[in-house]
Symmetry: C3
Subunit: 222 residues, 3 copies
């Protein structure tokens, strides 16, 4: 395979880190955290998923050895500090950046597990864990019920689909820059359209109904 | 020792995984999570304790390498989806399944640490961590004060007793299938009876009184 | 270098563990946890930061191999049980002990990373993570917005400064018992004075104002 996985992996990973970092800084802004709190939440959400992945893969986390991983959180914090001003655009922006991070991380997480020799099944699980892990840490830390479990929103399904597609492409030998971009686009579109159109899946118990209407603002649920 | 520890360990572990997975799906049902959220919470609570244990033991977590570990969460989610219907039985069911998982995990966690060469003291700590870790993750993720810290309920003490008994049996060379079952039964009974009879231990400060009566429903506390 | 890093490191670490353990037991007392819950929260907050550090450094956590690490949480729980009685002194006591733990952990975390061969940049990050990790776990577990993100309080900045100072002293070869004490004193003073004088840094978005006055009691924020 002539596709330079290592370099492409790092760049994709860094882009995903940036997207998640912006989502962290936006949440910090809304929660009235200060500048340092914004930087910390941006770092936690953007680097947390990868750190969990690397710990499970039993390797020293890239975020602690490669200083390049610290640029995106700093950049995101500064951008949100200077450019963000309106609360109106808040939810849409957060969902868009979060979806971007999700789309890239389910690919890079799965790829890293595959290149380190895990079987495709475990790699899909680890890819999904990488993708949803950062957002889970973000919401737990900000003391909210994680977006991941919001029944009014699809979150885990796009990540899982992306990880599964990546593993299938890898096993069939058709993974390359073009197909990777296609997978990222599909996951991003799936996530955003599901949010826009309020796609649901059944609740955890058959026959139970949702007791609340979708509020359109996932931060207001108690 | 002719007792096949590795195989028995995996089966006991899988049974514990199933019990905790049911408790996760039940909490997901009560919290109105959707089907995928139920699967994720079931996975987190049932596999989380073991993943923490394996990460501390510096080995790649079994849950990510042995696909058998994914059957119990799926099974539990499907069972709760089709069979659960009444909120009345909710608390009792959750406590029973949670106690079952606790009883098995404090044994398997301690055993795995002992077989990997840790000293009995550290093994007891790791066994207790394995047993309470999944439930802790479940409650933190669902944004509640963990059951572990509920002063109206004994939770950590049964787990600690079970881990200590397992270590004593191992050190004295009397650990086998029969004594393992006895330990599991003792821990399970201890946990359930303590819950039923409202056994207390003193609060964190001498002379302070409990300000609330036991509500019987540990999910309603703020 | 004739300064015995390993032994000094363990003693400093144990002192930091004790300070954080007291802060955990104090929070447990205030939250009406029972005696075992107090012990568990004290263990989590005092050992959690170091366990995270050791897992990231890919070594088996000292807390699980060296039984000496279990003495401070037990001691702290017993002390709080017998000696603590007044809610009035609660906040000041918690901030003081928390500041003591913070001051020592940012040094020991950075040192351990440096002695294991990480570059100074990564060591500073890991030192800061060690120092704030335990408190973050404490607040997440007790279901609060972490103190770390409280915009009315400086928390991460002293930890970061201490880790950076430690790394500079190490790199310039001037790290010894005297300079270590100086760094600890600076971090402790920085943290406590910032809390007393209500020092602020800007919020995450330029131009946004704090909507609440400082309440002086960081547990009352919603």
């Amino acid at each position: 395979m002539t596709f330079p996985f290592d370099i492409a992996l790092v760049w994709l990973d860094l882009a995903g880190v940036f997207f998640f970092a912006v989502s962290g800084s936006l949440l910090a802004a809304r929660k009235q955290f200060d500048f340092v709190g914004s930087l910390l939440l941006a770092s936690l959400v953007s680097l947390g998923g990868g750190v969990i992945r690397d710990i499970i893969l039993n390797s020293v986390p890239a975020a602690f050895t490669n200083p390049a991983y610290l640029v995106p959180p700093v950049l995101a914090t500064v951008l949100v500090y200077f450019l963000f001003s309106s609360v109106q655009r808040y939810t849409s922006l957060l969902v868009l950046f979060d979806a971007g991070g999700l789309a890239l991380f389910c690919i890079t997480g799965t790829l890293k597990a595959l290149t380190l020799g895990m079987n495709p099944f475990a790699a899909v699980l680890l890819g999904r864990t990488t993708a949803v892990g950062g957002g889970l840490l973000r919401d737990i830390t900000a003391n909210e019920v994680p977006q991941l479990f919001d029944a009014r929103d699809l979150y885990a399904l796009p990540a899982f689909s992306g990880a599964a597609l990546t593993a299938v492409l890898w096993v069939t030998g058709t993974f390359n820059a073009a197909t990777a971009c296609a997978v990222a686009a599909v996951v991003f579109a799936f996530r955003v359209v599901a949010w826009r159109r309020s796609w649901y899946i059944p609740l955890a118990v058959r026959g139970w109904q949702r007791s609340e209407a979708r509020s359109g603002e996932w931060h207001t649920r108690s």
